[in-house]
Amino acid sequence: MAISTKESYFRDCHVARAPRNDTMFNAFTLDTRTIASRVSFMRGMSHSEWRKIMAFERGAMKPIAACVLAGALCLLGFAGAGRPRGTGPAGQTQAAAPGPYQPSWDSLVQQYECPEWFRDAKFGIWAHWTAQCVPEQGETRRARITNQSARWSRPWSTSSARTVTCS
């Protein structure tokens, strides 16, 4: 097995995701674009300035992290939670695509079935490219020094005895 041969994993992932709800994808790409625009002025900042920005990012990233987690766990019904929806860039109202889920636990529990490909997959790799990758500082950097898991991987590993991220 070569890890890169998990192409079908991602392809199936996309197929499984597309018909249900594409809000998550939109939320993620929009926010990634916002981050990318910030990166340009983050180069060359002092450490204290960087810390201030990261403190802000930590707050701002939560909805994105939630979306990523939701995707990873196939809880597609959570898509876009924590992000205002229904308004377009110019303030026009946009109707969200109708999906099978209502925003309630009951709706999720009753309708959601974990797809077989996800049960078979067992192992996946994800990479995030964010503002903190540019100066190689922030949580990922700290993880490298303290041998602790990076912030986004905590739901899978609460232990400091191992490093699930291998940075």
């Binding site: 097995m1 996946g124 790799i125 990479a127 540019v134 990076a150 899978w156 005895a161 291998c166």
Partner: protein
């Protein structure tokens, strides 16, 4: 990390590994080395991971039996060859040894009273080794004679199947 993966899979979980990237999108040497090591392990032992389903028991061993230890070396306890995790696929039971045993491996969850869904155990193989292994079963469990040479690193998979 391999041990963490095995432990998660034995409990019907999936593991998502975070590989952080540099600003220019490349990944560093330590990460590459790590992934290559994992790939080597998967080449030999991946069949005990992918498309498997958990067994009725996820595992056994001294580390697991410590109170409050939810998975392998959560409290920094090193795994031993007595720490074992199970997965299944079709009519095969995989027992993953989290340490290399000297001479013999003993699987306490498989005493002669334990009825397996595929019937009697007919064959025990070590993934990465050529010959099937000798084994015996009694009230204490399944005892497997290990080859003298270690077959790899991290964790060692015994493929247990029925009489064909």
């Amino acid at each position: 990390m391999v041990q963490t993966l095995v432990d998660i899979v034995s409990k019907n979980g999936n593991m998502l590994l975070n590989i952080p990237v540099r600003g220019d999108g490349t990944i560093d040497d330590a990460e590459m080395k790590f992934i290559e090591g994992l790939t080597r392990w998967m080449d030999t032992n991946g069949e005990a991971i992918f498309s498997t389903r958990p067994w009725k028991v996820s595992g056994e061993g001294p580390v697991r039996e410590k109170e409050g230890t939810s998975y392998d070396n959560e409290r920094g306890l090193p795994n031993t060859s007595e720490d074992i995790r199970f997965t299944t696929k079709g009519n095969v039971l995989y027992a993953v040894l989290l340490g290399w045993p000297e001479k013999q491996a003993v699987i306490k969850s498989l005493p002669s009273s334990e009825k397996l869904w595929f019937g009697e155990i007919g064959k025990v193989e070590l993934l990465g080794a050529k010959q099937p292994l000798k084994f015996s079963r009694n009230d204490q469990g399944l005892t497997v004679e290990m080859p003298p040479e270690k077959t790899g690193d991290h964790a060692f998979v015994l493929k247990i199947s029925g009489k064909s």
